[in-house]
């Protein structure tokens, strides 16, 4: 849209959350005395933005740093370098009160709801707790709010008095989601929210997340390793490898024309839902050889080069940065020196 009286084009809405050069380091402890033995850069300089209402799918294998990144974006783990801005304001610059208010709007849903819930607290208490902690609404109105939250995630009031062990995995995850919704968040980081659930329950939870996004206008960072689920739920996708993003882009661009050799390997290795009359189903595509390198000692230069069939000398010397090769879809970026040649 161009305004009639000037060249200034209508800009995209300002991002809800921006991360710039975020790094997270963990001290690696080894041996019986757990002595510090080095430092893992779990997140090694990640920049990304989340627009209001969008869902960014974050995929990567174990050790890629995707959970650490998710936590760092909420300052549940303070980044060792870089900056996270929420509604334009750096989280690091907020005083305690302002950070608490920001926290209400920044919530997390965890992989294992059994571990995230106190086994001795009823469902009602678990969902009410964030209301009490943040002092939201009059205390007399909180039971009603708890009932409404449960209804929102598809749980009948009969579950109010139940304990986590009396619930199925899917029901526990619904409680975890209700807890996250209690403070009226704008952004929810969902860290592998379905990977601990049975197959027939996963689709229910993904549908719930999609419904809530629609009715509440939520923004999601959806961390998952199930690529088909990521494709289903996400608007954009980021692929993470050993602490760095190697490719980001609009969902369909990334899934149809993956640019990074690692993204291609992930897609090739993912089991495919069998489709009638199609020979190519299941795991039939040649897998990349070799294991992930030790995250404590990543390769120099490009972090995929030790497994990459296209690696050259340059890949060992110079770490590729995210860039948009000519002819790719808007917003599609890749960190590969050779994206053009191997396209």
């Amino acid at each position: 849209m161009v305004s009639p009286d000037g060249p200034a084009p209508q800009r995209d809405p300002p991002p809800l959350l921006e991360a710039e050069g975020v790094e997270v380091e963990h001290v690696l402890r080894r041996g019986p005395l757990r002595r510090p033995a080095g430092v893992i850069r779990a997140v090694a300089g990640v920049s990304l933005t989340l627009a209001p209402g969008e869902t960014l799918g974050l995929v990567g294998e174990s050790g890629s740093g995707k959970s650490s990144l998710g936590r760092a974006l909420l300052h549940l783990e303070t980044p060792t370098a870089g900056e996270v801005r929420f509604r334009g304001r750096p989280l690091a610059a907020l005083d305690a009160g302002a950070l608490r208010r920001a926290r209400r709007e920044l919530q997390m849903v965890f992989q294992d709801p059994a571990a995230a819930l106190n086994p001795r607290h009823t469902v009602a208490r678990a969902v009410r707790e964030p209301l009490d902690v943040h002092g939201l609404g009059a205390p007399s109105g909180r039971p009603e709010r708890v009932r409404a939250l449960l209804q929102r995630v598809g749980l009948e009031p009969e579950y109010l008095g139940r304990y986590p062990h009396e619930l199925s995995g899917g029901q526990r995850q619904r409680v975890g989601i209700a807890r996250a919704l209690a403070t009226d968040p704008a952004l929810v980081v969902a860290d592998e929210p379905i990977s601990a659930l049975d197959v027939s329950i996963q689709a229910q939870i993904v549908n719930l997340l999609a419904d809530l996004r629609e009715s509440l206008g939520l923004t999601y960072l959806f961390i998952a390793h199930d690529l088909a689920m990521v494709r289903h739920l996400s608007d954009r996708v980021a692929v993470m490898l050993l602490g760095k993003l190697v490719e980001t882009g609009p969902r369909e661009a990334l899934f149809r024309t993956p640019l990074h050799p690692y993204t291609r390997a992930l897609l090739a290795a993912a089991p495919r839902r069998p489709v009638p009359d199609r020979a190519r189903s299941g795991v039939l595509v040649a897998a990349p050889t070799g294991d992930l390198p030790d995250p404590a000692d990543p390769p120099s230069g490009c972090r995929y080069r030790t497994r990459c069939p296209f690696a050259t000398e340059r890949c060992g010397l110079e770490a590729p940065e995210l860039r948009a090769p000519a002819g790719t879809a808007a917003g599609h970026r890749v960190a590969c020196h050779h994206a053009e040649e191997i396209g």
Partner: protein, 353 residues
């Protein structure tokens, strides 16, 4: 029928776990056979009875589990009567098993070479340097780089994927006729999973070994096995050659599971997934009560009719499912024909890209 018995024949296997609050009917009349060199996928969600079936085959049911009915025969011989010595000749030698988590199935304080030579010494005539050389050959075969120099390394010095390879090498050392793989790739990353799947497929061909592949992942099993049996609530609800199962799923549960899985390619996804509402039934039967007589899937089935609530259907050949009756389903109203699913598979009609 031919005179040679199948390699493995499980008939009416029924396993129960008596507990204080009742009896868990974990496996309820499961029957299947496996020919030498054949592979069968046993697919189901948690609690469906797939791992319990595997453990019952090997006589390794944890307490208080008991086989209350049915039989397991290996080359025609009933395994129920085996004593400890008899089992030693079966486990590791005739039937080997690999588990989901190699971190717990390998001995953490024993060098990996030793874990393989132990199996060789138990089940073959190889000893000493010859056994060590064979261990090196096996570890190299499963893809451990520089295997000869790593025989004395311990499990923690290897990655998760490599540990699963080592576990596999130890399982294969006895040259088993049957390998039971219980979710062997579930703990692994997707690229490593694909490597292990390819490796098992190659080894099966090389060694003429039968494979019973246990998984919750219907998509994974499609590329791995010849036949698939789908378990629900302790029973097989559908069994078919893999291609037929995916082309013409007959049981509403199989169809619903397939429909609920989003696709990696094909048209741009939109709307909701076709989720199966509800959840699998609790298999605990409280004291003084009877197990439900109806079809276990009826409460979640969009097609359930009166009959389904009266009596559970037997596993029987699907009409039009091939003249040999190889495609069977436990449904009073199985779907036959071309597998077109009118229930609104959101991604139907996709094209390869």
């Amino acid at each position: 029928m031919s005179g040679t018995p199948p390699l493995l024949e499980v008939r009416d296997l029924t396993v129960r776990f008596p507990t204080r609050s009742g009896v868990v009917h974990a496996v309820d009349g499961v029957s299947f056979g496996l020919q030498a060199g054949e592979s069968l996928g046993l697919v189901g969600e948690s609690g469906a009875g797939k791992s319990v079936t595997a453990l019952a085959i090997l006589g390794l049911l944890p307490a208080p589990g008991r086989v209350v009915d049915g039989s397991v025969r290996l080359r025609g011989r009933d395994l129920a009567g085996l004593d400890a010595r008899g089992w030693r000749g079966v486990r590791g030698r005739e039937i080997a098993m690999v588990f989901q988590d190699p971190a717990t199935s390998l001995n953490p304080v024993l060098p990996v070479g030793r874990q393989v030579t132990e199996v060789l010494e138990a089940h073959t005539s190889l000893r000493g340097r010859v056994a060590r050389a064979e261990a090196e050959r096996l570890l190299a075969r499963v893809g451990i780089p520089d295997a000869g120099r790593r025989l004395d390394d311990h499990p923690h010095q290897f990655s998760g994927g490599q540990r699963q390879r080592i576990h596999l090498a130890a399982a294969l050392a006895g040259r088993p006729a049957l390998l039971i793989a219980d979710e062997p790739t579930t703990a692994l990353d997707v690229t490593v999973q694909a490597q292990i799947v390819a490796l098992v497929r190659e080894l099966r061909r090389e060694m003429g070994m039968a494979v019973l592949w246990i998984t919750h992942d219907l998509a994974l099993v499609a590329g791995v096995v010849d036949r698939v049996a789908v378990l629900y609530a302790g029973r097989i609800v559908e069994e078919a050659p893999a291609a037929a199962l995916f082309a013409r799923p007959a049981h509403p549960y199989t169809r619903a599971l397939l429909a609920s899985m989003p696709a990696l390619d094909g048209p741009e996804p939109s709307g909701r997934l076709a989720a199966i509402e509800g959840r699998p039934p609790d298999l605990l039967v409280p004291p003084e009560s009877d197990p439900p007589a109806h079809c276990a899937f009826a409460p979640r089935c969009p097609h359930a009719a009166d009959l389904c609530w009266v009596e559970a259907p037997p596993l029987q050949p699907v009409p039009g499912g091939g003249e040999d009756g190889a495609h069977r389903a436990a449904c009073w109203f199985p779907r036959s024909g071309d597998g077109a699913d009118p229930e609104g598979d959101a991604d139907a009609g996709e094209d390869p890209w």
